[in-house]
Amino acid sequence: MDPELIKDCVHCGFCLPTCPTYVLWGEEMDSPRGRIHLMQQHVEGTPITPEMAGHFDACLGCMACVTACPSGVQYDRLIEQTRAEVEREHVRTPHDRAIRGIVFALFPYPRRLRLLKLPMRLAGKLRPFLARVNPSLGAMAELAPPPARRIRLPRRVPARGPYRATVGLLTGCVQGEFFPGVNAATARVLAMEGCDVIIPPGQGCCGALSLHSGYDARKFAKRTIATFERAGVDTIVVNAAGCGSTMKDYAEILADEPEWAARAAALKVRDLAEYLVELGPAAKRHPLNVTVAYHDACHLAHAQGIRAQPRELLNGIPGLTVREVAESSICCGSAGTYNLFQPEAARDLGDRKAERVRATGAELLVSANPGCTMQITAAMRRGGEQPIPVAHTAQVLDASLRGTAVRG
């Protein structure tokens, strides 16, 4: 933990109301300001106690505090450094270690995830039992979306209409396996807007899951960089918020290896909405008579500062009305692997979000991150009512460009 970064905090407290765990529990040590204070204590020589580790683990890494901070504290870097330190110093309980082992052995690997789909469908029925064995396993079973048919994407989707650009598409791990329709829609939208879309086969995890949990993400970063270099693209379009924010940080993650850092810096990483707004609309939008609520994914709104672009794209569709969700800057509780490791807090935040989404009266929720989609759907289902359908921005645009109905 870099003492210089800690010093930037002036203890003003402006981060408190933006912090999901402070909103839930109202405790100083579960706020960004309090966690920075704990980091300071550790830097001054206090060993990482189980209590201290618990407060760091409880941080969702949503980065809302980074947006709110007037002093420019780089909490994102601080918490990443801290998580790595916790993994090095703190001995977790065997139970905790086992769950972490399972998650990190499965999620970053699309092939293993694919094998997991059948058992997870069964797990849905076993959920009450699993929840008794371990709340994390229960959460995993509850979150799993209904199985989707696998869609094989071609290696190249040529531009429709006048050619405007060539881009690479990251297919991701969770997005690709659980929401294949989103990748297909993303490729179609880009092609209809005049892009040659290159989809390199054999892509793996971008490293986001590891990075956000204090594990080494460099192996994943290098492989992703090499994959897109081989494919010959310099612009990569990403449709998952968490992946996009991690890939934008590749040069920093690989800072110790200058050659790799330079290769990382040569790649332009863009979120889908960000890229489409930069490119400007060319294809004809067909009307969609639907009222949608737009959900700000933390890794889009806070980590990448992308709030206006998705709204601009949605508002550009004739007939479509966008409603704002109250407390839009507060995390839904998904936060990468958070809902697996901290199921109780995640559940409370999910319920809070579901309630506010429902209050908008929208017919469809638009969410640009697979984790949020699973989390909010699970929370709405828990609420007893029929969950409103959730679609990615790409799917809404796809429907408008093709003149069809939105399929979540």
Partner: protein
């Protein structure tokens, strides 16, 4: 003793609401003023007035001091904990209990943030008027304790003008209610601004104000701070009471620019933010007048917010200025003093001289309309002696305020930070009289002791070594 007390506290509070783990306790060691630190003996997180009353009664039983804390954003160390005492944190008491638009009032718990009150009634066209810069996080309980102000208090008054009633736990552990409608002494007025020394507010009835029909926010840039000062005097002199007149000097502008990219006009030695509100015709008329006055006083650029977003952008620079100073200096002291508006130029010149004399930079942000200065004294705590010099400059600025007929605090409170300056402003007789008021509420001196007054005293013992009786006592007996 602490273990025994903690055990008893756990009988009246849920287990997880009593914090005794040393690592956790330390996160409560200071509020928004980090210069003073003390690790509390125990922290409690009550959720009801009855729980607070039970905690206070236990403190009385054990004869240990207690300190109330809201969001921990105070700037005078008013919520500085006692290492031998209990810190009562109201951050879990954040329900808006009732909203009565017909009577324009709302009842809220003390941990509700200032801004949350406005958010709860905004759609109906109402708002809660006092607006400290930390309004998104500071708690209404803390506002009551410190009688907090804000940019818009020039026209609408301070917390004391917007609180209609209180439920509070007295230092004896009784739950009592005070109301503006009470006959007799204005105890509500005595409690507001008492900085936790007379008890802990547990329910607050606040006044809701109707949102103005029209609001115009303008930003006027001047090459010098004197130009801005002239404009302020002329605006007030013309009989106009704007909703707010705020001034920032070049250093404060630089900080805000670094923090929030507020894009104030380049090359400005001072900017003035003037907000006018009220019926549309009145606002238009006043705007024309203010615009003329600013230009005559030497404004080289005037911007008017055309939308709510532009208004927010103008205010963002001002409201984030304190914390933004963290971008241009490793450490700083936020000072809070008041001077008569007409003395502003002399006092600012005096601050300039202090900067030169001590080699310490001072950024100036202030509520110019009511002469409430917020000099930000910058220093590097890694440089030996600089903190002490900054402290000295900070104190000298208050001397200047007193010299020109002002006060050592406008809205941040006395707390622990300024108690030592109280004797510069008040005579011993004045302080003793205040002490008598305090003793009427808190006989055992357990409610936030060590704050406001320079030296701790016990009630019953004669304040100060003195030969003659206190003048007020003399009259009585």
């Amino acid at each position: 003793m602490t273990d025994l007390l903690a055990g008893r506290l756990r009988e009246v509070l849920p287990d997880e609401a009593v914090i005794t783990d040393p690592v956790r306790l330390r996160t409560y060691e200071c509020d928004g003023l980090t210069y003073h630190r003390a690790t509390p003996g125990v922290v409690v997180l009550p959720e009801t007035a009855e729980q607070i009353a039970a905690v206070v009664r236990l403190c009385q039983e054990f004869r240990v001091p207690f300190v109330a804390r809201g969001s921990g954003t105070g700037l005078s160390g008013g919520a500085l904990p006692r290492s031998d005492g209990v810190l009562i944190v109201t951050s879990r008491m954040r329900r808006v209990l009732s909203i009565d638009l017909a009577n324009r009032r709302a009842v809220v718990e003390p941990g509700v943030t200032n801004l949350a009150i406005t958010e709860a009634v905004r759609e109906a066209g109402y708002y809660y008027a006092p607006d400290p810069s930390s309004q998104q996080i500071c708690s209404i309980g803390g506002n009551v304790a410190e009688n907090s102000g804000g940019a818009h208090c020039l026209k609408y008054g301070f917390t004391v003008n917007h609180v209609l009633g209180l439920e509070l736990v007295t230092p004896d552990g009784d739950i009592v209610e005070l109301s503006e409608m009470d006959a007799g002494y204005d105890l509500l007025g005595a409690f507001i601004g008492s900085e936790g020394t007379l008890g802990i507010a547990t329910k607050i009835t606040v006044r809701l104000s109707r949102a103005p029909a029209a609001v115009t926010t303008m930003l006027a840039a001047f090459t010098t701070i004197e130009g801005g000062g002239r404009a302020v005097s002329a605006i007030i002199g013309a009989g106009i009471v704007p909703a707010a007149i705020e001034m920032m000097d070049a250093l404060a502008i630089e900080a805000a620019e670094a923090a929030v990219r507020c894009e104030y006009p380049a090359g400005a030695g001072a900017v003035l933010v003037v907000e006018l509100d009220g019926p549309e015709a009145e606002v238009d008329l006043q705007f024309a007048e203010v615009d003329r006055i600013c230009r005559e006083a030497g404004a080289f650029e005037i911007r008017v917010a055309a939308s709510a977003e532009e208004r927010a952008a103008i205010w963002k620079g001002r409201k984030s200025a304190f914390a933004a100073v963290g971008r241009i200096s490793p450490a700083y002291i936020v000072q809070d003093g008041v001077v008569p508006r007409t003395a502003l130029p002399e006092v600012l010149a005096g601050i300039d001289r202090l900067q030169e004399e001590f080699g310490i930079r001072v950024a100036n942000v202030f509520h110019a309309g009511d002469g409430n200065l917020h000099p930000l004294v910058l220093f590097d705590d890694a440089v030996a002696g600089e903190g002490e010099r900054a402290e000295l400059v900070s104190g000298r600025i208050l001397d200047l305020c007193i010299e020109y007929g002002g006060s050592i605090t406008g809205e941040h409170g006395v707390g622990v930070d300024k108690s030592r300056y109280m004797p510069r402003m008040f005579t011993d007789e004045d302080l003793d009289t205040m002490q008598l008021v305090r003793c009427a509420f808190d006989v055992g001196n357990l409610s936030n002791p060590g704050k406001v007054f320079p030296t701790p005293r016990l009630c019953g013992e004669i304040p100060r070594v003195r030969k003659e009786p206190h003048p007020y006592e003399a009259e009585l007996f």
